[in-house]
Structures are given as C-alpha cells and as structure tokens.
Symmetry: C2
Subunit: 190 residues, 2 copies
C-alpha cells in the first residue's frame, strides 16, 4: 500500500476517512532522490510538496554566503517552500536530502485545492501548522534564554539521532553558534 508510513503519521494527528485518503492519493506520485539532492531551491519555484516516507532532509538559508540550517525533517514529515505555498513567491530557502530519500510528491496547487475543498485535510493542515508553530516558538525561547551549551544539550535530547546522521557544521548553524564553538562545547564535561 502506498504512503503507508505517511498516512499513518497523518492519522495520528487527526482522523482522515478512507475517502479523504483516496482523494489525497490521487494527487500523489512516489519519487526517489539521491543524497545531496536539492528538493527545493532558493530563488526559484518548485511547485511541489513532499511527504517523506524514508530518509532525512534539512532546510537552510544562505545569508552572506553562509548556510543557516533552519530545520531537519525525517520520516513522516512534509517538505515545502512556505513562500511558495502561502504567498506564491519564489522560495527563500533550500531543502536538501541528507540521505537517500523516498517521498510522495504533490503539486502545491493540488494541496491548496484540497485544503480549500476537503475539511478533513484542511484540519490536518491546521494541526501540522499548530505543531510546527509551537515547536519554533519553543526554540525561539531557548535561543533567548539559554546559553549555547544548554541549547546544544536540549537539541541532543530532542533529536537524539540527528548528531550521528549529520555533520557538526549543520547543527552549529541550526543552534546559532560557530562550528568551533560547538566543538568546544561538547568537548566540555565528559
């Protein structure tokens, strides 16, 4: 059955009738991408969102030539350009695969249409936005109130597997410190 894992994740968030799932499946194509593939490019339209069935990605900006990682996304997650989906503008962010990725692709126009016409999917969209909003709000708080070392520790306990799967520099830019500083931080205390 296609989208098994993705659908399971969606159904943990809110109820979706079989009819709704069928509607969604009608709009979806399975794709495979190699490691280091750019799913979304800055300053371009991408036209699709991706439901990750397998693999791992990161989103980042380039500011003054520096990459700033803004999020990591794994199985069950959904990838898209906010600028494009919300405002029909070119993306400001990149999204790249960190491993080989299997994902279900959906046209942004279909996703928008489904949100407008199908209440269940609209509610699911609301719920993922709520969760994401809460998450980013929390990390905002941590950035304002915790010193770098504790932010690192919070990161490790929130994403225990990520440190093994990606290299230091990416996590450093996610935490808002330099790679050297992060290296020193984790050198301390064990």
């Amino acid at each position: 059955m296609p989208m098994e894992y993705v659908i399971k994740c969606m159904r943990t968030l809110c109820p979706l009738s079989d009819e709704t799932v069928r509607e969604l499946l009608d709009c979806v194509t399975l794709c495979k991408f190699p490691r280091k593939h750019l799913l979304v490019k800055a300053d371009a339209f991408c036209r699709y969102a991706y439901f990750i069935e397998k693999g791992f990605t990161r989103s980042y900006w380039i500011v003054d030539g520096e990459e700033i990682t803004t999020s990591f996304m794994g199985e069950g997650g959904i990838i898209f350009s906010m600028d494009e989906l919300y405002y029909n503008k070119k993306s400001e962010e990149y999204v790249e695969t960190l491993e080989e990725v299997e994902a279900y692709r959906i046209a942004l126009s279909d996703l928008q249409r489904l949100w407008r016409t199908n209440h269940e999917l609209c509610y699911w969209g609301l719920v993922i936005h709520q969760n994401e909003y809460r998450r980013i709000h929390q990390s905002h708080k941590e950035r304002l109130s915790l010193p770098a070392k504790e932010r690192y520790e919070a990161f490790v306990s929130q994403f225990p597997n990520v440190m093994q799967r990606v290299n230091l520099a990416l996590v450093a830019s996610y935490l808002g410190v330099t790679q050297s500083t992060l290296s020193r931080l984790r050198g301390m205390h064990e």
Copy 2:
C-alpha cells in the same frame, strides 16, 4: 454591528460566508479590560481566546525571573495560549494588555468545535497559522544572521508604531538584548 473590525480583518485573509460569521458571533462576548490586565496567566488555564477590536497586548515568558517578550499584538489580532488550545495544557506564557483593550472573547472549546465543524473557519485558522509561522520563522532568521543593531532597525520598520507605545525594556527582551544595549544601539547614528 459587533466585531466589525475583527471580521473585516478575518475577511481579508479568506472568504467567510454570512452564515459562518453568524456562527462565530453566536460564540462571542464583548469584554473590556484596563491597562496592565493579564488576559492569560502562566501555569493556569484561561479557557478563552480573544479577538482584539481595539488596543494592544504583549505576550511574555518569565524565565529565571526575567520577562521575555515574545510578541506584540494589536487590533485585528487574536490572543490565546498555544499550550491550552493545542494541547489542553496550562499556559506557559502570560499575555497582558499594554493599553485599554476591547476584545471579543470566545471559549477555546467553542473555537475548537468550530474548527472541527466549519470548513471556512478551519481554513481561516490554517491561514492565520501560516502567517504567524512565516513571521516567526523570519524573525528566527534575523536573530541568527543579523547583529543586534540591524535587528532593532528591522523591528522599527516592521512595527513603526510600537516603539512609541511601549517601553524600551519590552522591546529589548523581544530582540534578545538588554535594555542598556538597546539604548546604546539607538543612540548610535543620528
């Protein structure tokens, strides 16, 4: 007509039929609050969301005795505790009025019910979450990539009227600097 301004704002975000507006109005009560009133308290349930018709509020955390302002909200905005609305947990944040506020109050349970039963309102909920998510994501980027002075300048041009309406310390904690630093920053260059 009640909720004139609020409804107008909502309708700039997405279409709402008169029937839907009536449904919403049925759940809503007008309230007035004095300056410095706590609309939402941390570590407590508040049970309501507020549509601001007139006035100005701020949300904040208290971390180690320090207040950290996380957002300002004015006319047309909606106030609620994420923890409570999303997860039925006690609020972690405070929300206080910075001026006299007129707001329409709705029970969180009614808001949740409306989102579940009324597609138009659910879609409106999705849109406000999209916008808020985009905004916080952007400010996250600024915090990671801009030095304090430029973040201050970005703040001033984004909320030109806020600096006049609130005192320095609140903006400082919003920007993640101390009051003295912010004072020095704006002293520079004019």
